[in-house]
Amino acid sequence: MSQESMIIEKQDVVIRFSGDSGDGMQLTGQQFSDTSALFGNDVSTFPDYPAEIRAPQGTVGGVSGFQVHIGENHITTPGDYADVLVAMNPAALKANLRWVKKSGTLIVDTDSFTDKNLEKAGYTSNPLEDHSITEYNLVSVNITKLTQEALKDSNLDQKSVLRSKNMFALGITYWMFERSIEHTEEFFNTKFCNKPTVAEANKLVLQAGYNYASNVHALAVHFKVKPADIKKGKYRNITGNKATAWGLMAAAEKAGLNLFCGSYPITPATEILHELALRKDLKVKSYQAEDEIAGICTAIGASYVGNLAVTTTSGPGLALKTEACGLAIMAELPLVIVDVQRGGPSTGLPTKTEQSDLLQALYGRNGESPMPVVAASTPANCFDYAFKAAKIALEHVTPVILLTDGFLANGAQPWLIPAMKDLPEIKPKIAPEGEGYQPYARDPETLARFWALPGTKGMEHRIGGLEKMDITGAISYVPENHQVMTDLRDEKVKRIANYITKQEVFGNDNGGKILVVGWGGTYGHLYSAVKELRAEGKNVSLAHFNYINPLPLNTKDIFSKFEKIIVCELNLGQFAAYLRTQMPEFNYYQYNKVAGLPFTIEEIKNKINTL
């Protein structure tokens, strides 16, 4: 090891914190991310944790990770491969080494590399000693012992002492990236304001880690990542789930309605319910139902009486809500159904990301039951698309499915805080008071029916799941009427295309050789891959979709201008299959991955280069 550390200036750096699921790696990564954002970097983060809250200690299955990508340019993904890996035990090293760049830096807690832990991780010899990782820049630190030493005068029990060793690792990385420890100190002051001993211990260990790195100059590399040149304004960090919750709340405020959310906890959607449950100060009514079905049914009840009603779930929950989705379609009530997609089928991979609920969202109901489908594509724009989904629901009087996924839900990025006055108006289709209300009379433009709210004098009426007579809403089994109503419900959803923004193309607006087509949460990776390929001189463009049903009106026009279309998605080709039904005249190449993981930029580039 050299006495003087080498300073590397980089435009962007990826750092991955990993340890046992009880080691506090999520908190450590979040602190690093927040501090970097405050410093002025653009940031993207992604947590990667096991489905079990406390998976067997020391095993590869129990490893919890948190990846942070910081940069001085626009950062759209948490990064494919890490420049720096913090591994708190052998299992963390074993699980994550494949995600570290060759010649990347490994910071390991040597104290945890005991025979027992090596065995649990499945190592037959100690990788720190057997020369198997010589191509990396290994930084071995006695993190456990140094933490114990730092806290030898504290009154904390041994368990609490060991719990703060993640702060030693964070202190090292703060020094390494020239970051101030101040923000994290403040964090502990607030978090443990009632437990000053714990706050002090964590701060002490953080400082000890920082001092250690600074004193011993043991770290061969020292990174400089300049602040990013990003748009001026006030920022905050936001995860996809929080942004979804806030977008729904913003829509309710804009529409002048109360927000009601009927939901059942399910990974990875639950944080939306947490966030809504917190916001009683904004009159949000969150209702933790007895099951997924009751979640959507309470929301339908709330919609019937005039709330902006939502239900939040993931794939298995959407399956349970199917019949009630049909009721909302038949009764023509506004409703937002949020599906935070995860690996499936069945219980599948609850904490991993996937885009395999698309066909369920589009078609997974009995009868002819069209429903608008909208997808968010970044953690922060979950806010925008939750807002837009609610706007469609309220103005077109229909249930709407909003698709996000585990990657967006848990991923975080800095977000330029919007002002409510800048958001579009939302005008719910509430029936004007007076005599002669017809439940199924429609707006001639949108074909939306009007919402008459129980409690309003003179507008008493009945709705339900049985087929309704056009205009009057009386039960009807008349064959011709069923055709009319089926066509109306279909046409109503199709006409939404007249009210959504046109599809944009990144790259060659006027057409070109290759068009990469994506939708939803893969945006960051597809955008970065296309951007890099274009920088390399390749004629490739990207059309990334947020409006799935209906598709933007100019979709066909865009597709017709490119020689080759390749649809990239994290499933076996569901969007491609849908596009084939909508526009069979084009040939669609596919790139698919179903590994519970996002794409890597590298693999997308490789695939496109083969076309």
């Binding site: 927040d34 954002a37 002025g40 990003i230 748009k231 001026k232 304004g233 006030k234 920022y235 905050r236 960090n237 806030w246 709340m249 913003a250 405020e253 109360n258 916001r279 009683k280 100060d281 904004l282 009159k283 009514k285 209702y287 139902a289 007895e290 099951d291 079905i293 009751a294 049914c297 309470t298 929301a299 339908i300 009840g301 709330a302 019937y304 009486v305 005039g306 709330n307 009603a309 019949e323 009630a324 009721l327 009764a331 805080i417 919007p418 002002a419 409510m420 129980p454 409690g455 309003t456 004098k457 507008m459 008493e460 009426h461 009945r462 709705i463 339900g464 799941g465 049985l466 039960i475």
Partner: protein, 338 residues
């Protein structure tokens, strides 16, 4: 809420009633319309929610707001209605299949939460709309289309199930007794919390006479007891029978004037006792050994879900510095890029 003078007819819609001639639902809807007229709440304040089944056609025949929903989910939808707008009077109509089989989960959770609404459970012990299959309340051994050799499963007693789910209000009536049904519906609506009203209903087509052991003219005085809070539990054609606690702790039927029994020995009904023990014994009384208990059996005060939700909202709104979305968006950790 303002009171308005109505007659039962004001609550009839213009839709043709399509239940079979002789179906108990005709009497039940008459009772409900009578009760609603007498309650005199504005017509527009009623939201009548049903699931699927014969009785679930109910909302279409009522000239109020109504929502005929999906099988088993009426309790969940009604819970959403009430919690979203507490000013509404919410009435759920479900059959024994709708409420206790496919909707059993929602039924118990509705009661546990104590949402302020009324559930009229039309119990005919059969699936009528699907033409004659056994239900969760069908008596053991009954032959139906899906139990040609007799049922082999133990039925639910809706009263026992309700009390098990911590019910605060349970009443029972019989379809043909319009006055009593209207009386308990009114009591249920006025009770703050989830009120479960079981109406023993006759299905003339698939389970005719299923309640005849207690409804037959010759038997009914001896096989029915109408309980009223504060009154003695006396029944019989000559008002000479009553209920008494045996030394072993269970109820027994005694005859007044025999074996030294006087009226003073007969139990006084206390519907307001929070301890459900006596109510549990009363709902479980079965013919022919006991009279079947009718009237308001349990009526206990407790906080309701919807009122607690509103209180939490009011408290949070008074205390929180966040008054609108702009406040929230700009709260917590933020930073300025200049």
């Amino acid at each position: 809420m303002a009171k308005i003078e109505y007659t039962a007819k004001d609550f009839k819609s213009d839709q043709e009633v399509r239940w079979c001639p002789g179906c108990g639902d005709h009497a039940i809807i008459n009772s409900v319309q009578k009760a609603l007229a007498e309650l005199a709440y504005p017509k527009e304040s009623w939201a009548i929610i049903s699931g699927i089944g014969c009785s679930s056609r109910f909302p279409y025949y009522m000239n109020t707001y109504g929502f005929h929903t999906i099988h088993g989910r009426a309790s969940a939808i009604a819970s959403g209605v009430k919690n979203a707008n507490r000013n509404l009077n919410v009435l759920q109509i479900s059959g024994d299949g709708d409420a206790l089989a496919i909707g059993g989960n929602h039924f118990i959770h509705l009661i546990r939460r104590n949402v302020d609404m009324t559930l009229v459970l039309c119990n005919n012990e059969i699936y009528g709309l699907t033409k004659g299959q056994y239900s969760p309340t069908t008596k053991l051994g009954t032959k139906t289309k899906t139990s040609p050799y007799g049922t082999i499963e133990h039925p639910f007693n809706p009263g026992e199930l309700s009390i098990g789910a911590q019910s605060k209000f349970f009443a029972r009536s019989i379809d043909v007794n319009v006055a009593l049904t209207a009386e308990v519906v009114k009591a249920g609506v006025e009770h703050k919390g989830t009120s479960v009203i079981e109406v023993l209903q006759n299905c003339v087509i698939f389970a005719d006479g299923v309640h005849s052991a207690i409804t037959d003219k010759e038997l009914k005085d001896e096989r029915q007891i109408v309980l009223r809070h504060g009154e003695r539990m006396i029944f019989g054609k000559n008002k000479d029978k009553g209920l008494k606690l045996a030394d072993a702790g269970h109820l027994i039927v005694v005859e007044i004037g025999k074996n030294g029994i006087t009226e003073e020995d007969i139990l006084v009904h206390d519907a307001h006792n929070p301890n459900p023990f006596m109510h549990w014994m009363l709902v479980n009384m079965k013919a022919p050994d006991y009279p079947v208990a009718l009237g308001v059996i349990r009526d206990v005060e407790a906080h309701t879900y919807d009122e607690a939700l509103e209180e939490q909202i009011e408290t949070a709104r008074a205390k929180s510095p966040i008054k609108c979305m702009d406040d929230l968006l700009n709260s917590g950790d933020t930073w300025e890029i200049k």
